[in-house]
Symmetry: C2
Subunit: 132 residues, 2 copies
DNA sequence: TATCGTAATATACCAAAGGGAATAACGAAA
DNA sequence: TTTCGTTATTCCCTTTGGTATATTACGATA
């Protein structure tokens, strides 16, 4: 049995390791998180929720709900939706959406740095314990 | 309807805020996390899994599983269990358990500091966005 | 006006996690 | 040897988050 990762991109380690998740809360709960950011990037890449969802093995329904949630919680939408028209419509990342993506990755990078730093403390702690 | 907090101690904020969870992974997945640490403290306080679980509105079954998981994943058990005997038995935090608790709170405190620091970056970002 | 692939929405279904309750096992002390 | 409250274990139920599927709405373009 292959153990399924609990959350997008978060894999299991072989031995004691520091893990964490970070996100930004809005009025309705989660506003921005790792999975949502990936989704935004896929939308930018594919131009539609349908294909973006497919590309990351997410159901369209779930993807649409995430996009809707982000659009509702941000002052201006992150994703511009078009229904009907050429190609049946589509989805486009707005400049606000772009900014959100960039901001989150900065945040995320800082967090990874934090974890790396703390990892050393953990290793030291584990050594001390062994010696007891 | 009152929205239930997603996880122990993690409350909802009124406006955009940074949130996160950290934990330590072991061979079987989660090894140490916020809820497990609270549980260890309650066990130290009450001397039994039963009363510890009750004190934090957790089912005995769940609490036992968490304790068992921690004991299996640590070189030496964090909780010493006694079945039968005076008072029917009980649970006692070992010195390794004590150390784990202290270590986690240090880790946790650092993380809170990290979030506070990043919060300022977020606020700045939000202002910039408004001005656009 | 007919077409096309998408957004938008509703319904049914599924699986995992956890809760609750019931019961057996246990062993020191009276 | 009986008692006692706990650990240990099992079974069933509910909840929950998500998938799968089906249907409707849409509107630029040919």
């Amino acid at each position: 049995m292959t153990k399924k990762a609990g959350h997008a991109g978060v894999k299991k380690a072989t031995s004691p390791g520091l893990r964490g998740r970070i996100w930004i809360d809005g009025e309705e709960g989660t506003f921005l998180g790792y999975g949502r950011i990936i989704l935004l990037e896929r939308i930018r890449e594919h131009g539609s929720i349908t294909r973006a969802a497919k590309s990351m093995e997410m159901s369209y329904r779930h993807a649409w709900e995430l996009v809707d949630s982000m659009n509702r919680q941000s002052a201006r939408p992150f994703v511009e939706l078009a229904t009907g028209g050429k190609g049946g419509g589509g989805a486009r990342l707005t400049t606000d959406g772009e900014k959100a993506v960039r901001f989150f990755w900065k945040f995320y990078g800082d967090f990874q740095g934090f974890l790396d730093k703390e990892k050393k403390v953990l290793d030291k702690f584990m050594n001390d314990k062994e010696k007891t």
